[in-house]
Symmetry: C2
Subunit: 117 residues, 2 copies
């Protein structure tokens, strides 16, 4: 069993963007931190909701019918199968939770490899 997990410390250990790092496991899910900046692509996860909490900076989660703006300390759950596109105008740090093995792009062929830190 691991000890306290310091999210800022984990984020300081890498600089790559759009490459989530798994910092803990929880009920079959990966708890991940990521640095994101710029526009991602539209995607959906057919089998899982998508948990986002902003730890630093701010992001937009674009949905087909509206945009959800998230600042530090704000969170949002994208229901399964709902198309979305995360956008960060400057670098933002986020906490993500998804079932272990969920492709971050929505497509196993293009997903970032799982990296546990």
């Amino acid at each position: 069993m691991s000890d306290a997990i310091d999210l800022a410390e984990k984020l300081a250990s890498f600089s790559e963007q759009w490459a989530p790092r798994t910092v803990a496991e929880f009920n079959g899910h990966d708890v991940m931190v990521a640095r994101i900046e710029g526009e991602y692509h539209w995607h959906a996860h057919p089998d899982t909701d998508d948990f986002f909490l902003v730890l630093k900076g701010e992001i937009d989660i674009e949905l087909r019918d509206r945009t959800v703006h998230l600042s530090e300390g704000q969170m949002f759950v994208i229901p399964r199968d709902v198309e979305h596109r995360p956008v960060a105008r400057g670098e933002a740090h986020i906490l993500l939770i998804e079932p272990t093995g969920t492709p971050n792009t929505g497509d196993p062929d293009t997903a970032a490899p799982r990296q546990v830190i």
Copy 2:
């Protein structure tokens, strides 16, 4: 579908301690915020891991063999069935994730009622 969920704003809307409020649902889990202060009692959850993230203040999660100290921005997952006792010397604010319906005390007879805000 709800909008951005501001965790500090949710916490400011109530003052009761040891009474988690559900702020979102995620893959069959409740995402909750809680104010805690003082010593809880020893308990375990036989069917689920227990996710803790400290949003403000600091807490100890006492385990039978050691204590995990968590400050703001630090998290810990207590594996299912592991006995633990949260302790907060001053009031702390935490984010909790547990399957919907999990008794916070480990015992349905003494659990705080589910409150969605």
